[in-house]
């Protein structure tokens, strides 16, 4: 029978999920603020905002990989 994951692993996974959720909220705000500036005719923030958004996305991908690997290792 498969063993249940240790409590510490679950805490780490939940922490990673929480961090992903927070980063996603920041990305949503960033997208809406960038769109507002773009529609207002201000283009200077477009490229930096996209760069930050991609960095946040990369962090989310890394954390998601951590969650996947942690789940497998605990089996």
């Amino acid at each position: 029978m498969r063993s249940t994951p240790p409590h510490q692993a679950l805490v780490a996974i939940d922490g990673a999920l929480s961090l992903i959720a927070v980063l996603l909220i920041v990305q949503m705000w960033l997208l809406s603020a960038t769109l507002e500036s773009f529609l207002g005719g201000h283009y200077a923030v477009v490229v930096p905002a996209a760069a930050v958004s991609f960095v946040l996305c990369a962090v989310c991908v890394v954390l998601s990989a951590f969650v996947r690997n942690a789940g497998r290792q605990d089996r």
């Binding site: 498969r2 249940t4 994951p5 996974i13 939940d14 990673a16 999920l17 992903i20 959720a21 980063l23 996603l24 990305q27 949503m28 960033l30 997208l31 960038t34 769109l35 507002e36 500036s37 773009f38 207002g40 005719g41 201000h42 283009y43 477009v46 490229v47 905002a49 996209a50 958004s53 991609f54 946040l56 996305c57 989310c60 991908v61 954390l63 998601s64 969650v67 996947r68 789940g71 605990d74 089996r75």
Partner: protein, 167 residues
């Protein structure tokens, strides 16, 4: 709640129903992480789309429009006009003998019409008490996120001509 058989073995449905609660909890976390990550990718793609739209945009063409003659507006006075289209309200302010400034009248907060307050020498928005500097249109107070768009003026003889907008 699952009851075990008297001999301690698991019931038949447990053997045939392969989903286990502890595994289901882990799968749900992984699926949730995958969902959040795909949403994050979508957000980044949205930002990339804005970058592409910004790169592909055409440079706006502004007409040359005579706004006023030099002595038409008194010092501290205001003249309303529309630029660059008839649907874009702007205001011209004469701040001293030699200086005329012109800005879009649309507040950058929620698009209310700003007015010139001669006492405070600010452009003020009555809706949410936003105020802008009359010197450069920058935000002095209130919720507006950006400065007012400025109308670039050129003096041609005795006339003031609007040539372009600076957003």
């Amino acid at each position: 709640m699952t009851r075990k058989k008297p001999d301690g073995s698991e019931p038949l449905w447990r053997d045939e129903f392969s989903v286990r609660a502890e595994d289901e909890r882990l799968v749900t976390r992984r699926q949730f992480a995958k969902f959040l990550t795909l949403t994050s990718v979508a957000m980044a793609a949205g930002n990339l789309w804005i970058v592409v739209r910004a790169w592909l945009r055409k440079a706006p063409e502004y007409p040359r429009v005579t706004v006023a003659s030099i002595g038409e507006v008194p010092i501290g006075g205001v003249k309303l006009f529309n630029y660059p289209t008839p649907n874009d309200p702007c205001l011209l302010v004469r701040t001293d003998e030699q200086t005329h400034v012109a800005y879009s009248q649309v507040c950058t907060h929620l698009s209310c019409a700003v007015f010139f307050n001669g006492e405070s020498e600010r452009l003020e928005c009555p809706c949410h008490r936003g105020s802008f500097s009359v010197a450069d249109g920058s935000v002095i107070a209130g919720p507006p996120p950006r400065r007012l768009s400025r109308v670039v003026l050129e003096r041609r003889g005795s006339e003031l001509v609007a040539v372009r907008m600076e957003v």
